[in-house]
């Protein structure tokens, strides 16, 4: 069997925006641009691993205040209840809304931690030049990139509640500082998934054939 033929191996670059295959004859100059869509051409995403690392560390740090600090407070008839992200899920479960509780649990608790763990695994596996299960890792990346945005459910829910429930002493909802940290985790992990280049998973596959 011969080594897999990639754009890189034939000295070409695939445009990250429109997918046009451009020869490196056009791309030897610095800041070369795609002849079709005018996007900057890079063979691989720039500084992919170190950028992804930096974003993952930032997300990991912010994950703590995101879960410790309250995200919303409800004041009704002089009684006030304060919820963290997890507290909100538990309250939904207690009120018998199991389906909604599960959706919120998956989106707000499971997805962020899964995403950080999956990207960490992908980055480390590339750095260790892991040779096995490339296709499964590619699927893991695709899945991670797809689910990341869904964690925003809680932020939208809070924005709706604070905009709607403002009947002074009767019922008022206010946002808590945990919401900022939580939104930051979601956005930073979205960037982390975007900066990771899945091509790196496959880049050393050709080495196996050269012996």
């Amino acid at each position: 069997m011969t080594a897999p033929v990639t754009a890189k191996s034939i000295g070409a670059i695939s445009c990250h925006v429109c997918g046009l295959l451009v020869s490196s004859g056009l791309t030897t100059t610095h800041n070369a641009r795609c002849p079709r869509c005018d996007a900057r051409l890079h063979s691989r995403k720039v500084n992919s691993l170190s950028r992804t690392w930096a974003l993952l560390i930032a997300a990991g740090i912010l994950y703590v205040p995101a879960n410790v600090y309250p995200v919303l407070t409800l004041i009704s008839f002089g009684r006030s209840t304060t919820n963290t992200i997890m507290g909100g899920v538990i309250e939904l479960a207690h009120s018998g809304q199991m389906v909604i509780a599960i959706i919120v649990f998956v989106a707000s608790v499971f997805v962020p931690i899964f995403k950080i763990a999956a990207l960490l695994f992908l980055v480390v596996s590339v750095q260790l030049r892991l040779k096995v299960q490339r296709r499964k890792r590619a699927v893991l990346y695709r899945f991670t990139e797809f689910i990341g945005r869904w964690s925003m459910i809680d932020i939208f829910m809070i924005s709706i509640l604070i905009g709607l429930v403002k009947l002074q002493a009767l019922a008022t909802v206010t946002a808590g500082p945990g919401a900022i940290a939580f939104a930051a985790v979601v956005i930073i992990t979205m960037f982390a998934a975007m900066t990771f280049d899945p091509r790196l998973i496959w880049d050393d596959e050709g080495d196996d054939y050269d012996g």
């Binding site: 890189k8 020869s23 829910m157």
Partner: protein
Amino acid sequence: MEIDKDFTYTESLIACPECDLIHSVPSIREGEQGRCVRCGALLFVRHKNSLDRSLAFALTGLMFFILANIFPLLTFEMEGQSESNRLIDGAIAFWNAGYWELGIVVFISSVVAPLAVLLVLITLLLPMQFGRSPFSPQFQIRLLTHLKPWAMSEIFILGIIVAFVKLQDFADVSVGLSLFAFVLMVAATVMAYLTLDEDALWSRLKEIRA
């Protein structure tokens, strides 16, 4: 596979965007898909009347977007007092509460990006429908690619559902007209994306410019 490496750029070969493996562009029929043989990423899709359909869905989406902003999404009632909210009120509420960062995030992801996506699609496809070149197709297509992940209307809908369920526990909540418009806007936007075939877009642009 024998590959002719003698090109400055080519449309007869494509590299998988996720693993870089070279594929020759196959002739697939409308409604069919082509995936990367190595990593399984989706490489090719063909749709019947791709550009016409995408434009039709984008225009539909824009109408519903306008409707979604006129009427209330939810109305909340307690002890004879009531309060309703529009799409943009979530962002304003965060801003007014001193959480301006969240106000900006919610404003972009629920209002600006979904609207911008529709407007970019329309300004791109409508002139092409009349055989004219859009004002800057390269910029518009790049903008569309970068906007996509930040338009979160479909996630906003789930946020509304969760808020609705939470409020039901202690007050009367009712659904406003705009909620239906908003759901239809999301459906139209998703369809506009799904039917848009970027290869068809580039080849049509080439025809128009020739």
